[in-house]
Symmetry: C2
Subunit: 124 residues, 2 copies
DNA sequence: CAGAATCCCGAAGGATACTG
DNA sequence: CAGTATCCTTCGGGATTCTG
């Protein structure tokens, strides 16, 4: 698997390691929405991350679960019901995501960009 | 440029906005090395980010500069000399990067992975 | 020394249709 | 409802060569 003598920074460099797990186009938002809402079903997530396709949502959720950042609970009912929630491990990333958000909001203000959160507030 | 009615989250969603600017394979490390070393020349950066190509280094530096995260100072001498440093705006991202690093180091410990920082410590 | 210029590839992601 | 399965496109990034 390891390409011979190639350095694979994402395996040993802590910065790369982190970005590999939280990077990607949607993982940050998924984690944050789960943090906000406590628990979300597949369909709810699909609506929260407004512009995501089922392929990317499923794939992102699988990777996040494999990395121990979220939990997946399946209920054997008809129609199917699956609930996702953030783990303690995943929750530890929230301060980092919040910090990035704060920074972004600050920068966006200087560019006169109005922020839009794609999450649907669960209490409003 | 904007594809009609397509939602472009990275323009208005603060999470995406941030990841767009700090994401990519090397930007996090570049910023962090510049933060540590205060100022680095092109060649020094090239050695610090051990596995980067000139193409990606140049490209990353340009984008970081365009986003106001780093400074580029050129000295009209022969041979050429160019120094890069982090801006105040870029420095604000450091706590966020550090937090990610902490998290990564913690996870890597549970996986028995020894972290390797590709930066060359400037005082050692 | 500090890049620029090409050519190229693989993986990330998109669109669409289908299923238990 | 909660996904699979395919096919297709884009583009981030790699390798190499060249230049002021």
């Amino acid at each position: 698997m390891a390409k011979d003598n190639k350095i694979e920074a994402f395996k040993c460099c802590p910065i790369d390691y982190g970005f590999k797990r939280i990077g990607g186009k949607y993982k940050g938002r998924i984690l944050y929405y789960l943090y906000e809402a406590k628990v979300l079903r597949y369909g709810e997530l699909s609506r929260a991350v407004a512009d995501i396709t089922t392929k990317m949502l499923t794939q992102s959720l699988k990777e996040l679960e494999a990395d121990g950042l979220i939990n997946r609970e399946m209920f054997p009912v008809v129609p199917p019901k699956v609930e996702y929630s953030i783990t303690d491990r995943g929750r530890k990333l929230i301060p980092f995501i919040k910090e990035l958000m704060e920074w972004s909001l600050e920068q966006m203000k200087t560019e006169n960009i109005s922020p839009i959160f794609f999450s649907k507030p669960q209490s409003q």
